[in-house]
Symmetry: C2
Subunit: 228 residues, 2 copies
């Protein structure tokens, strides 16, 4: 099997803005970092990891903890790139093409705190020039690119856009469906998934922030009253 | 492997009320029936199917099409029971116990239009005295009961409640996680999943009702403007 390089796009500034009804800006940043750490834990067995950072953090040392984790099996690099998601990722893809495409490229979103190494085994075993992992609402939560001609197109219904892009290039598109890879955390009701099914840092942080499982699913989905 | 009897609780009256912002009462009934048919198609390879009906339909013949589908490999029965979900299902479980528990029992929710026979193969192969399939927001979308001592407890965070119930009885609880089994259709944003990933009657019905994929994920999730 070819080596894999993992790329995780990440931004701290205005992170997870759709969670602003229930979390302050600082809390959303903490949550984004906890989810990033859980995603790194899930993917780091696959190969080296590059965090593609939109804005340098205002506080120095923000990522020190992530980069120098004890027992980390893979190298973690941080790459600053102020471009928007698609041009930043496609620039990185083109840089890999210029290097002779030394490894396949797995792009993983940073808001997948349920994801486990087991789920990624299934993804890596799925055939296809590209393998697309659907998220909620037509999104693409992960994409494994095995052919250097492919370029990404996020936003909108990117799941369908990525399938179409592969077809246009004559590439085969594999689909890997997974409950855990498919659970991206964007909106308040999504937090319940992280609390119930999460196994890493994220559920603990949410509990520290005052969230609990009320036992009332409707309320959990809609209201997320925090029990301070 | 022991035979499996599939039970699908269903109601037409006030069906899918949380979709009322985007669908009329009659349209919600049509959608509920389309999803039920897709669920039956997915499960019918496992064994005979019982539709546990809360209220008899006001229009005679509502279920004729479902029961007498061409090529149906399994028998489909309709059982009227005016009780609420938990007592109705537990009464049915107790009736099976009195019959000597001739088969395992799979309870499948009727709003899982993405589910395929492939997903159910994985469920049936999962070990456990009970096997629980999580839905969105802490729900239980399917539960396979292999031990006659188990009783169900839906509503609220039923996924956790079912695990706890198994533990209390000294039973082993398997968890089967699946993107398609985990995608229940309750609220307007869930319709996008049925349109994108559905393969049965449901996506066609939604298109007939005027829904389309706008390409704008945010709008799709929030607004679901129908393009008449």
């Amino acid at each position: 099997m070819r080596p894999i390089k993992v790329v995780i796009p990440f931004k701290l500034d205005c992170a997870k803005s759709r969670l602003s009804p229930v979390l302050s800006s600082a809390e959303r940043q903490d949550l984004a970092l906890a989810m990033l750490e859980d995603v790194i834990d899930a993917v780091s067995g696959l190969g080296d990891v590059t965090i593609l950072l939109k804005d340098p953090p205002s506080e120095p040392g923000t990522f020190d903890r992530l980069i120098s984790r004890p027992g980390a099996s893979s190298q973690i690099d941080i790459l600053d790139c102020p471009l928007e998601l698609d041009p930043a990722l496609n620039l990185l893809i083109e840089a890999e093409v210029k290097r002779g495409w030394p490894s396949d490229l797995l792009i993983a979103m940073a808001d997948l705190p349920l994801m486990s190494p087991f789920d990624l085994d299934g993804l890596v075993r799925t055939p296809g020039d590209v393998v697309i992992v659907p998220g909620r609402g037509g999104g693409t939560n992960l994409i494994l690119i095995r052919d250097e001609r492919f370029r990404v197109s996020y936003y909108g219904l990117s799941f369908l856009k990525h399938i179409r892009k592969a077809e246009d290039l004559g590439l085969s598109a594999g689909i890997y469906e997974s409950f855990r890879c498919g659970s991206d955390v964007d909106e308040p009701p999504d937090l319940v998934e992280a609390l119930i099914h999460g196994r890493g840092r994220t559920p603990g942080l949410l509990k520290d922030l005052g969230f609990s499982l009320s036992g009332d699913r409707e309320r959990a989905r809609v209201g997320w009253v925090r029990g301070y």
